[in-house]
């Protein structure tokens, strides 16, 4: 990763942080409804991994904490925000919401709200890629708590059995909703759990985007070379509660302070300042630009967009005008 890449990544990660924090405000203002799960603190995971993969070419799928993955995959942040605002211009036309961002054009295959649901979907997409003979891989991001679902075991078994090109990324933020990992999970190190399926795996610092990138390069290379699945565990921390309805009372201030000292955006910023590649003023200017962009373009677009029409409530349930429904297309 060269200096220009690092500077770009710093901007992208800071944008993601400001985007999520702006969502927080909009939620408090009741502009965003439903459940809202924010990614602040975990940015190095999505950015480090997808920097090593090929967003727009490789398929990406994740959970309900999906805004940032979608944006890094190539989704227009304005459309993501419009989706949160439940507008017709939203990435899922206002029918999905925060937990169901989709941008199939950029191969962002969705946010899913059943914990562990995407494990088999990712394996299935990898099966399709393998059948068609492409060199794409499928990158599936999920949290540590998803690994206690049956789909984790069922999917890892099939992914290895058939050597499917899927990279499972475990964002281990130490909590499943409000329950700390050691109170829900017999084995704390998640990468060890996949050894029973003969899948290569690694654990990496999920706060350092450069380390994530390096670990992900190895993982992506393995999967793309046709050797089958890989499991990468990234140790990270979310600043906000599981969702906006979470009081966060289950974590100590000491623990939160400890993790905030290893903030992924600040770590990269300080490294670039130390190396003399940017100044503090450069960073401040970048931040101001980003805040302006989010306000004047992203929020403005969402605010000014129309809502879906009630007349179209039943659109998208089933395929429209599918001749095979009536017994033939010839």
């Amino acid at each position: 990763m060269n200096v220009a890449d690092k500077k770009r990544l710093l901007r992208e990660m800071l944008f993601a942080r400001r985007f999520e924090e702006r969502c927080y405000e909009a939620y408090v203002e009741r502009k965003i409804g439903g459940f809202l799960h924010l990614y602040s603190g975990e940015e190095a995971c999505a950015f480090g991994v997808l920097e090593a993969a090929k967003p727009g070419h490789d398929y990406v799928v994740t959970s309900y904490r999906d805004h940032v993955h979608a944006i890094k995959a190539g989704a227009d942040p304005r459309k993501v925000m419009a989706e949160l605002y439940a507008r017709e211009t939203g990435s899922s036309k206002g029918r999905g919401g925060s937990m169901h961002i989709f941008d199939v054009e950029h191969r962002f295959m969705g946010g899913y709200a059943l914990v562990g649901g995407p494990f088999p979907l990712a394996a299935g997409m990898a099966k399709a890629v393998k059948m068609k003979g492409g060199d794409e891989i499928v990158v599936c991001f999920l949290g540590d708590a998803a690994n206690n679902q049956g789909t984790f075991h069922e999917s890892l078994n099939m992914a290895k059995l058939w050597d499917l090109p899927v990279l499972y990324v475990c964002e281990n933020n130490l909590y499943g909703i409000g329950t700390r990992i050691d109170r829900s999970t017999a084995v704390i190190d998640q990468y060890k759990r996949v050894s029973g399926y003969n899948i290569p795996s690694a654990q990496e610092d999920g706060q350092d985007v450069e380390k994530v990138y390096q670990a992900a390069q190895k993982a992506v290379k393995h999967v793309r070379s046709g050797k089958g699945p890989y499991f990468l565990e990234l140790m990270t921390y979310r600043y906000r509660g599981h969702s906006m309805s979470d009081s966060n009372a289950y974590r100590s201030k000491t623990e939160e302070r400890m993790w905030s000292r290893r903030d992924p955006v600040i770590m990269l910023r300080d490294r670039l300042i130390e190396a003399g590649e940017i100044t503090r003023d450069d960073y401040k200017n970048m931040d101001t630009e980003i805040l302006d962009e989010i306000e004047n373009e992203v929020i403005a677009f969402a605010e000014s967009s129309p809502e879906p029409r009630v007349e179209e409530l039943e659109k998208y349930i089933l395929a429209e005008n599918d001749p095979w429904v009536y017994g033939g297309g010839r």
Partner: protein, 326 residues
């Protein structure tokens, strides 16, 4: 037009669709090397190979989800789930992923997957292998549900289901795989919507689907010969979306309705069809519509109890006789 068995009709549909499109695959437990519990995939493993005829681990939710994920990218999986009871395990992926993905992505993604499963009470299979779950599937928006009553439908419905861009659940029956019937020699696609008049009649409409169509037909013969009652039998091969117009049209003709289902009455096909009749043509009725259903009990192992739990043609005759005061 050749007479073939239900399983042979299914096998032919699988084979033709796999030959037609290299992205059609078959998945399920024992469907490959072993040839399939119901022989519906017999010979396909040797013909199309392990990449397209996939023996899965016993992980119903996992492999159904895998098939759904593959369908997002244009693969057309036909998934066989050995028993409807096991399909409960796959309900998460069917309900939460396949049926909802088109809607929650604002039309960007679709899941053109076919799930076939055998339900019904057969020969002392006990409580965990005798479920009739069509009532659950037909209540899921975004999922099509069809249930063939004969080899012709089994063949034509599967072929249309594979090509249709929606997820389709095909409800089959443990006891019907050896049922014989005529299937067109030329390629044939059966509509996934609508209903069929299996027997014309003027006095009462008997609504059945899958195996209960046969009970209705038997009952209609007895009613005609012994009581002079001419029953019309409507085959509701499509349970979702269900053929409201077809139901109403028959009731307008006969003014009496009996729904016959192998499943328990609560929240079932009978309840749904009678609600439709009440909503659409209540004042056409000469008498209250009835349903002939199973006793609401886990299906017992004992054969006498098992038979007592589910309805048969005699029960249909009895109900219609009482309706006419005969």
């Amino acid at each position: 037009m050749a007479e073939i068995m239900y399983w042979e009709a299914l096998r032919r549909a699988h084979d033709e669709e796999m030959a037609n499109d290299p992205l059609v695959i078959v998945m399920g437990e024992d469907i490959g090397v072993a040839g399939g519990t119901y022989k519906a995939t017999q010979g396909l493993f040797d013909k199309y190979g392990p990449e397209r005829v996939i023996d899965t681990p016993i992980s119903e939710n996992g492999y159904t989800g895998l098939g759904i994920g593959a369908s997002f990218l244009g693969v057309r999986p036909i998934i066989e789930i050995m028993s409807v009871n096991f399909a409960w395990l796959a309900m998460d992926q069917l309900f939460n992923s396949a049926a909802k993905v088109r809607y929650m992505s604002g039309g960007q993604l679709q899941a053109p997957v076919v799930v076939r499963s055998a339900g019904g009470t057969a020969h002392q299979l006990g409580a965990q292998h005798s479920a009739r779950m069509e009532k659950v599937f037909m209540g899921i928006a975004g999922l099509r549900v069809v249930t063939p009553s004969n080899p012709r439908q089994a063949y034509g419905l599967l072929k249309s289901a594979v090509r249709c861009n929606d997820p389709v659940y095909i409800n089959e029956h443990e006891l019907m795989y050896n049922l014989k019937g005529e299937v067109p020699d030329e390629e044939y696609f059966h509509p996934l919507v609508g209903s069929e008049v299996a027997r014309e009649g003027s006095d009462v409409s008997l609504f059945g689907y899958n195996i209960s169509v046969h009970w209705c037909l038997q009952a209609a013969e007895t009613l005609s010969k012994q009581f002079g009652i001419e029953a019309e039998v409507i085959d509701l091969y499509a349970l979702s979306p269900i053929d409201r117009a077809g139901i109403v049209s028959s009731v307008r003709k006969t003014h009496r309705a009996v729904v016959v289902e192998e499943a328990e009455a609560p929240v079932g096909v009978g309840a749904e069809v009678i609600a439709i009749i009440n909503e659409e043509c209540f004042f056409e009725l000469d008498t209250a519509p009835q349903r002939v259903s199973a006793v609401n009990v886990p299906i017992p192992y004992n054969h006498t109890l098992e038979k007592a739990a589910i309805p048969n043609a005699g029960d249909v005759v009895e109900r219609v006789r009482r309706m006419f005061g005969k």
